[in-house]
Assembly symmetry: D2
Homo-oligomer: 296 residues x 4
């Protein structure tokens, strides 16, 4: 396992993950669409490449962590995409949250090229990435999973295997994001109720997020919603809206109605319309505030 590993996409999550791999002593070639983001990693020992294709080696391993389905298709299959070069025996570990159709399509196209496509979306925000404490859901070809398993050690505190279907882990990730969006809506409505009823919303959230809801989602989003402070944006609202759209597309495509998912989407659309697209997606809170006539 002394091959050079490629890591494509150095955003808020990708950068600290690449750094963890470097710090674990793994040889790493990095690529990012805007090249200046590679500087710090190069200073830490990484090599850079000018294109996705140049970053990978034949039969090697490549991680991708990009913004959306289109970006994934571009780095993989575009003019400078890596798949042709990766080729027979290569493994693509796709960390991004994407649509189910794209995941299935990716699986097929890699298979034709003799490569393996593994969905490996992660659970956790940037600080967890920096600490190597992510949760990883993975699915895809068993041999490829076995081969790259050690590479996940520096990144995660837990790896859950969801079987051989390339899209399975991605569906798990989408369902998890739906659950976060639902928790945001529940917190927002509950806070609007207690505040209008004369109760301090911070005290309310403090009690709940230290008893029945004593977990990261309710602590992180609970704090922000209790204070109605939606920055910094760990997850930008427009991206949250995109993900909920992917969830609902996946659900509707297999005949599953998700009324709570629909509600979450409608609240996020309203928040974008209200100018909160670049805030954290807990800014869906503004809808509940407005409905209750609370001024921020």
């Amino acid at each position: 396992m002394t091959d050079v590993i490629a890591f494509l996409g150095l955003g808020k999550m990708g950068e600290p993950m690449a750094r963890r791999l470097l710090e674990a002593g793994l040889p790493l070639t990095v690529y990012n669409r805007t090249a200046e983001k590679t500087a710090a990693l190069v200073a830490a020992g990484a090599t850079t490449a000018d294109t996705p294709a140049e970053a990978v080696s034949a039969g090697g391993v490549v991680f991708t962590m990009v913004a959306n389905d289109a970006a994934l298709e571009e780095v993989t299959l575009g003019d400078h995409g890596f798949l042709n070069r990766l080729g027979e025996g290569g493994v693509h570990i796709s960390l991004s949250t994407i649509g189910v159709k794209t995941a299935t399509h990716m699986g097929n196209i890699h298979a034709k090229a003799g490569a393996a496509y593994l969905c490996a979306p992660v659970f956790g925000r940037p600080p967890a990435a920096a600490a190597g404490q992510l949760g990883v859901a993975i699915s895809g070809d068993p041999a490829a999973k076995a081969r790259i398993r050690p590479l996940l050690e520096p990144l995660s505190r837990r790896v859950d295997d969801f079987g051989d279907a390339p899209g399975a882990a991605n569906l798990v990730k989408l369902a998890g994001n739906f659950m976060i969006g639902s928790a945001i809506e529940a917190l927002a409505e509950a806070c609007a109720l207690v505040e209008k009823g004369g109760v301090d919303r911070e005290a309310f959230v403090d009690l709940l997020s230290n008893t029945l809801f004593d977990c990261p989602v309710y602590k992180i989003y609970g704090d922000g919603i209790a204070q109605s402070v939606y920055q910094p944006a760990g997850m930008r609202l427009v991206l949250g809206l995109k993900d909920i759209g992917l969830v609902l597309d996946a659900a509707h495509g297999i005949g599953v109605a998700m009324p709570l998912g629909s509600l979450v989407r409608d609240r996020l659309i309203r928040a974008v319309t209200g100018g909160h697209g670049e805030d954290d997606w807990m800014a869906a809170d503004v809808a509940a505030r407005e409905d209750a006539g609370l001024t921020s």
Copy 2:
């Protein structure tokens, strides 16, 4: 503080709470509408009373933990109700989850009688009650709160004070129950999605409830929903539906729209119609299962 304390209502939550007080060495008189439930506590040292009124002492302290607003009014104000006897200087610690209007009305009527009405709803299920690990939200008259504060020690791991308004703590409790109902719906829809998408729902919940949602609500309800096993009923569905009704009445009464609350109620109504009224309220899950065409 050597007065005899009265405890009225020995259901799934009341019984272990009364036992904790006894075990802490406090003299206790207990009352329950169906008298046989008092036997075990009597064996452990409690005294019994034939009526609510006979259980209390003038100017003393009484806990109530009953099923609903009507039961609370009955034990307090009914033919054998205790309020007249409790009278001047007495303190009523109301642990039940009730409507906001009833809480306000109770506050007024106790004030007229010279007694204090404290709302002190609890967070936690029967095992937490048995272990003295409940969360308590409390509100009402400051002097009364100070007086009874030591009595909450054997019951709780945390007491949060929500001020002087008698109904405030009750509103907090209602909002908390709304959040639980919302988490149930989120779990149900997410599980329906992943199962129909070919993913093992138990593996999905195991991942989520040990990472982002690593807290009691998601563990307890996550297990049941993942397995679609809705017994034993820690909280009967008909009672959950009643509570969500109280939440929405409270919200609508002060001009707060709660669309997620409305969704949760509609799912619970549907589950009652489908014959799940006596199951745990996580049986709201059946609606999501049916919508996805999953057979149980």
Copy 3:
């Protein structure tokens, strides 16, 4: 049938209905809580009474058209209520939209007094009342219905009999109001969509309300919503909200989930919070406008 008929409640609907009865040559005694509203009818030949009780004759016929359940109970059973005087053989034709529980209670209490309680809510707005073109839904005791049937002629173009249960016709009325509220929401969302998509909303409504939706509800509310003009208030929004609350109480009381009803209520609450309580209830439109980021 030469008895004097009593008519209690001379609001926007009651006044033109009373006038129709007068113009049909029927002897009429009228009563209104604020007495000045009786002047025009007195000029047209009506007698007035100082109290509800004085307006009725023993064994006679009394119409009531009042604002809500409490007002109905007041004129019927209050200090100056008419039921004791009406007594054996009397018929109470209740035109108001009230709750199902109140209707049932009224039926029982009249039966005890030897009188008949007929629910006879009307469909139509003030101009239809003035033209004697209302639709009437009626239910209750068959003999009483037969006796008062001729009195409905001057008021209506259609009388539909829903059987012997006093509350049945009232449920029909509530369900009809739910359908109107739903049509308002549909118009509001459709108009927001087409306007933001660059289409003239008035032209859109003009097409729809003259083809597939060529009926009074879509013409009346379609015009107002297309122009976002919510005055005059044929039905005040706070009353619309009250009625939808009665619908949902009735539904939930018998185990019927109505998600569209819940949505309509949430939109109306939001409109009240936004200051539109005294506008016509089509002002629910503001929620759809806001969601789409349309400025009025």
Copy 4:
């Protein structure tokens, strides 16, 4: 205007529309994917073509009435598509209900070919088509609209012009279908309420659809829903679901939240899951019936 006119797509709506054109004395060439559907029209004087391309003449006029976006792209741009042959000066009158993106794309691609693309979706069901009593919403190039205006006479009782943007009329059609879906849901919930409350649902609908809701949508769907008879399928449920999907895609694409639209979609998904995909889309009624515990 003695050019031969092409008509492509002879389904439940297309066939009677083509027949109206023939009966008006217009020379017509017809094409249908399954050729046997052309026989009756040939007997009535039409010519047939083996492919879409062969059906049109250079610079001529072509009507299309096909099932969905993909079918429209196939007949227009596929291997045997007509656009190349239609070419400069040709006019394509697109009667189908399609997505907003497809409509815009079609507009652009026709413009490049020197032809005009007119959206002209119709309002009405097969009997209205057969009677030439459809409503037509039209938008697109003014000169092209003027040229083909006389051809709409035999088809419609009303033509509404929504301006120059090719997609505008299509958006109007989508919004109209949303309104129909909403009316179905309102009828279904209202009927479930009254039936469970002991009222005859047919009598209820008869009253409403002859007074406040005295219009085609409430008569047609009201009858079916009152009787819970969902055949014959004037509009198949799977197609209704597709259309509501197009509505929501259009809305979400321009930042408009439509919670009632989301509700209607969820009910339709559930009805498909329950086996009603080939029934008329008023079979969304089954969700309301199930929610109320009514057996069919």
